[in-house]
């Protein structure tokens, strides 16, 4: 790639630039700062759309009373129950149980705090579903 051909499409870098390697007019390799490439915007959005759809599906399950609000916050942090278990130090089967509304509602504060720490949320926020009064 020639330095003059390095894409400068505003893509996913939010005003930042990334370093690309390209050849200058003399054929020497130089670092060219790039505002981004349309291609990376497309594939990045593809991945983030999938995460958004998954989160919306979980949100509806929480609203319907089929999953606990913990399931929502876990998904919002791009975690599954395995990763959440690793981050809290709780057993996987316990985390899975806590994704059920009735089990979650009975959790003592110290377990809630562990989830809060792992998800970067204060406990009050952990108990709330964003965009609702619950």
């Amino acid at each position: 790639m020639k330095a003059s051909e390095v894409p400068q499409d505003d893509s996913i870098l939010e005003g930042r630039r990334r370093a690309c390697y390209a050849e200058d007019a003399q054929g020497r390799y130089v670092v060219v700062a790039s505002r981004g490439w349309e291609v990376e915007r497309i594939v990045n959005e593809h991945a983030r759309d999938a995460l958004r759809e998954e989160l919306e599906a979980v949100r509806l399950q929480v609203v319907a009373g089929k999953a606990s609000v913990l399931a929502y916050h876990m998904t919002a942090c791009q975690m599954d129950y395995r990763l959440l278990a690793a981050n809290t130090g709780l057993a996987r089967f316990r985390v899975r149980r806590h994704l059920r509304p009735r089990t979650f509602a009975r959790l003592p504060p110290r377990v809630l705090e562990r989830y809060g720490r792992a998800l970067g949320l204060p406990v009050e926020a952990l108990l709330r579903l964003p965009g609702t009064d619950r």
Binding site: M1, I12, V31, N44, H46
Partner: protein
């Protein structure tokens, strides 16, 4: 707000080579990023459904995290120290102790928890590398080499990023050079790096890795829409292209960085033909960019014809042949 000490930050294509280069530059050994990449034999290819991230097969255009640091420093005779910790308190105390001695320290961290990343790029990925070089009351000063300028980070965020769990969990890892030889054998390290790169691209038995991995993916990818359905096939293509272009590879899945390495190697080794091989690596990189372009058209839904996946397959088959020839010639030349 300005940092309490200056640091020789340099905008880099890739986090691990950028971090390694910055740590050594701060200690007086200033080498360009492509040399670190090549001396660390960073180039690779792997695509396997046996490992999955978010349900998608893992694709990698480089070797495992930290392998570049370990290999490049070993080949130059630099002694590195690596420290991991049981809890974030001990990790933070040790980091502050080293910073207060004026040392700069390499850290491994999870991208998701680093607040200075663009929101679009905050994914759960534990293999990110950066330099911490100073502390003030509000937090840490970091040289994250994939960004243009140094950044400032609150301590809670950095602690969280250093202790994220899951695949490649950093466990608070910090690393720094303990001793650097006065006159490191750069030519020898380049030669060893090239030989090792050729081995991992050509010689790994049985498993489809390196060049054979590219070829195997080329055989497979044309069947994805029929076997997996459109949505799934698109998601897998998107994932490959992201690993190639989005995560900081210097472009074309490290192929341009490798081409730059070969060009710079030519100034250290009396090996004829390295410049030509560098140009060929550039042409290969351009073809990988073409692969990314077609892949993006498929993801966007701009290409729904059956020919699009066939085009990806043909590009990969051609790339496998070209890379195989490149590494055979490189091996013969050095």
């Amino acid at each position: 707000m300005s940092a309490p000490r200056s640091f020789p930050h340099r905008h880099s294509g890739h986090c691990e080579t950028g971090t390694l280069g910055a740590l050594l530059r701060d200690r007086g050994l200033d080498l360009p990023e492509p040399l670190w990449f090549g001396m660390g034999s960073g180039l690779f290819f792997l695509h396997t459904g046996l490992l999955r991230v978010g349900g998608l097969p893992v694709t990698a255009y480089r070797v495992a995290p930290l392998a570049i640091v370990r290999n490049a420093t070993r080949r130059l005779g630099i002694r590195m120290r690596y420290e991991r910790f049981r809890d974030d308190g001990a990790a933070a105390r040790r980091l502050e102790e080293l910073l207060s001695q004026g040392l700069a320290v390499g850290l491994q961290a999870c991208v998701y928890w680093l607040p200075y990343f663009p929101s679009t790029m905050r994914f759960q990925f534990n293999g990110h590398n950066l330099v911490a070089f100073a502390r003030d009351d509000a937090g840490y000063w970091l040289s994250d080499t994939v960004f243009e300028e140094v950044v400032h980070c609150p301590p809670e965020a950095l602690a969280r990023a250093r202790f994220a769990r899951g695949a490649f969990a950093p466990r608070g890892l910090l690393y720094y050079p303990e001793s650097i030889p006065a006159d490191p054998d750069i030519g020898g390290a380049i030669r060893a790096g090239i030989r090792s790169t050729c081995r991992q691209m050509l010689d790994i038995p049985l498993l489809p890795l390196g060049v054979r991995g590219i070829r195997a993916l080329g055989r497979d990818i044309g069947r994805w829409p029929a076997r997996l359905g459109t949505d799934r096939a698109r998601a897998q293509v998107a994932q490959i292209v992201r690993m190639q272009e989005e995560i900081g590879t210097g472009g074309a899945g490290f192929r341009f960085l490798f081409a730059a390495f070969l060009a710079q190697a030519a100034t250290h080794l009396a090996v004829p033909g390295l410049q030509d091989l560098s140009r060929e690596a550039t042409a290969i990189g351009d073809e990988w960019r073409q692969f990314a372009l077609v892949g993006a058209h498929i993801c966007k839904g701009a290409r729904t014809d059956a020919g699009a996946y066939g085009e990806l397959a043909a590009l990969l088959t051609g790339l496998a042949a070209r890379e195989e020839r490149l590494f055979r010639e490189l091996r013969a030349a050095t």
